[in-house]
Symmetry: D2
Subunit: 89 residues, 4 copies
């Protein structure tokens, strides 16, 4: 579970990403050079990956650690690896 | 250069992504399960990759083809590969 | 730590990947069509990612679980996330 | 089509990757620390991506440019984008 400080940081990051997406929308509307648009998309994606990694770390530190302490390690780790598999594609 | 139909399609996709980002923000605010949030992030990223590939294809079909016809192939292709390199990370 | 069965399976996979790499080397030597070579490279990379995920899962199930039981969770998870960060690039 | 110099460079890179794969096989056999093995896998994958990008650039500069000059641009670029799509996963 995310704590309040993590939530606040993540929501701030998401609002920045939302701003980046709107900026890309405007670039397309204005007919800006494709390579510049692609660079902004790559930057927004990197920001999203960062959000995913923060959540992944927090999830591992709380939910997975609890599962291990309660002897539900295999399910929790199986689920974690499945998330990493999809994330790494 | 993107034509009007491409612009319209891409802007529609970006608005959907913007909606996905807002949905993720809400999920975090509501304390939803981390693994569900991560799946939504992965889905939003896949949607962004699709936008990048559409722009990349359009860029190659217009700007790169023109550059080749005007004997500026090497610069245009070098720039294209640089974009693919960053995109594929 | 990997057990003997995991080691055996991983080494078999690595030998197959080694064979794929040699096959790609031969394709290049024979002047085969670039797109076919690129597809083989993508296949070999997918096989390597699979090896990484198997090791990551085993590592989490053994080393990370032990670290958590011995109250060294934070270091072990920090290291794990760092590996995922690099792997997901 | 790759020229002789490109072939030579790529084959040298592939032989190095083959050596990296064999090194990883040996690390697993010797029971080396999983995180170190994962780092070597990530390094080998980066080397393979570099090979893919070199081939992609050469392919674009030769096959795609020829296709464009012969008015077969759309097929060649469609194929190129398909390769990039798979490569970027």
């Amino acid at each position: 579970m995310l704590n309040d400080k993590e939530k606040q940081e993540l929501r701030l990051r998401l609002r920045k990403i939302s701003g980046q997406i709107n900026g890309i929308d405007k670039m397309i509307d204005e007919g800006r050079y494709c390579v510049d648009v692609l660079q902004q998309l790559t930057a927004a994606r990197a920001a999203m990956n960062q959000v995913s990694l923060i959540i992944l770390e927090s999830h591992t530190k709380s939910c997975v650690v609890n599962a291990i302490k309660e002897d539900r390690a295999d399910d929790a780790i199986g689920e974690l690896i499945e998330v990493v598999r999809k994330f790494s594609k």
